[in-house]
Symmetry: C2
Subunit: 260 residues, 2 copies
């Protein structure tokens, strides 16, 4: 079984590339972030034609938006709200095999890593803290979290640990809360369980760098976590770096997880 997660940066604009992903890898489940479309305009028919009869999504105009597409039935679908907002960043569903799947898009956090000056950064930290509290109260059996968590926790999750330490996504504050969340949820970082932490690993490259491929100043912002009791099911992870080089790419690439 293959589960994909991808910050697609507009599902409507990226439909051709999404079709390519489907044809090349035939994922059983696809989790999307930043769909940037209200539910009425989500391309339901187009994706049903591609084999995803079961779709659950929560979107809004212009910003955010998450979706779960599945070849098999989804149950107990639900939307989570955070920080008193309804900004379409977190949905969940249970797969046929009983796995509880959470698809999350953490706020990016703006430019300045200062909660006093930058309300977006405050929002990001609060969001992660609320997650930590929520997951601490749950029994997280056979569950997983995927999505754009907008934090690169490890040294080799960024192109330069030293040059990134005051850059939003890799600050000590964020990493501290991120790790606390992961621990409270009892989750394993499956990507790093399958790919050695000493290896550079990125899922995102800025649009702004003209020679992103050569410079390779990437970050691992997209994640796959599995509960302790299910992490053993994961056999392989694929980061589809090529999708960053496609025509009209997203700035994130799809991450594929094979589970047995």
């Amino acid at each position: 079984m293959i589960i994909a997660t991808w910050n697609i940066n507009s599902v409507r604009l990226r439909l051709p590339l999404l079709r390519q992903l489907i044809q090349q890898h035939r994922p059983d489940v696809i989790c999307l972030q930043e769909t940037k479309v209200v539910d009425e305009l989500f391309p339901v028919d187009e994706l049903q034609k591609e084999g995803y009869a079961h779709q659950f999504f929560s979107g809004m105009k212009s910003y955010n938006g998450v979706a779960i597409l599945s070849r098999e039935k989804l149950s107990d679908t639900g939307v989570h709200h955070w920080c008193g907002q309804r900004d379409c960043r977190h949905i969940a569903a249970t797969l046929r095999n009983g796995l509880r799947l959470h698809n999350i898009y953490v706020p990016a956090g703006g430019y300045e890593p200062d909660v006093k000056k930058n309300p977006k950064f405050l929002h990001k930290l609060n969001f992660v803290e609320e997650q930590e509290k929520f997951w601490a109260k749950q029994k997280n059996k056979k569950s997983m979290i995927v999505g754009d968590l907008n934090i690169a926790p490890l040294e080799h999750d960024v192109w330069s640990h030293a040059q990134m330490k005051n850059v939003v996504s890799h600050t000590a504050d964020e990493i501290l809360r991120f790790t606390a969340w992961q621990k409270s949820a009892g989750m394993v970082d499956v990507m790093r369980a399958l790919i050695p932490p000493a290896e550079k690993l990125y899922t995102w490259w800025s649009y702004r760098a003209p020679d992103w491929e050569k410079a390779n100043r990437g970050r691992r912002l997209d994640h796959v976590w599995m509960s302790d009791d299910s992490a053993g099911m994961a056999t392989r992870v694929h980061v589809l770096r090529d999708y960053r080089a496609a025509a009209q790419p997203s700035d994130h690439v799809p991450v594929l997880l094979e589970i047995e």
Copy 2:
């Protein structure tokens, strides 16, 4: 020798289609309207590579803008201003063969054909009237006017003479002034000299009609006029209707004039 005129509706966005025009027809001179770009951002280098070493243009941000591209030298280049505005609607240059070429973009005139209610319509009529007076004072030897004149003067310049008679571009007021201008300039309507006036002939189809090709509700808004003493040089005119069916088309198509 081939002279092309085309309301390109953004020269930057339409560069691929402009290249196609160049490769298919190799015009010696190209007159563009609605380039929609300030002079600093005009794609000079790209068009030099296509063989147009001599370029003269006058553009502004967002609106209007005219350009003359030529394989051979242009002389006596000049910008004309009308109605007390500097809105980049008229430039002129002299070709190597001595022909004086005017490239004009007449205001569209808005929706309501009423000078009291609609200042854009007033502007259009004033613009044409100023042209009439200007050309009456000139000796117009070996000269031509091309461009988007935004008026379809003849019955078969529109899809329905009856249904268009109160629509801006085909009102009696506009046609009266248009014809007076043409006469004052001593100019021949070369397109209609070469294509019988009884034949429907359009250079523009609205973007808004979804089935423009089938409905075929076009208008002849783009024109080629030559002074009495030079009109005999014109041998053929081509209206490149196919360009309306291209990907990312302009709403106007190129008009090509062959002269000997």
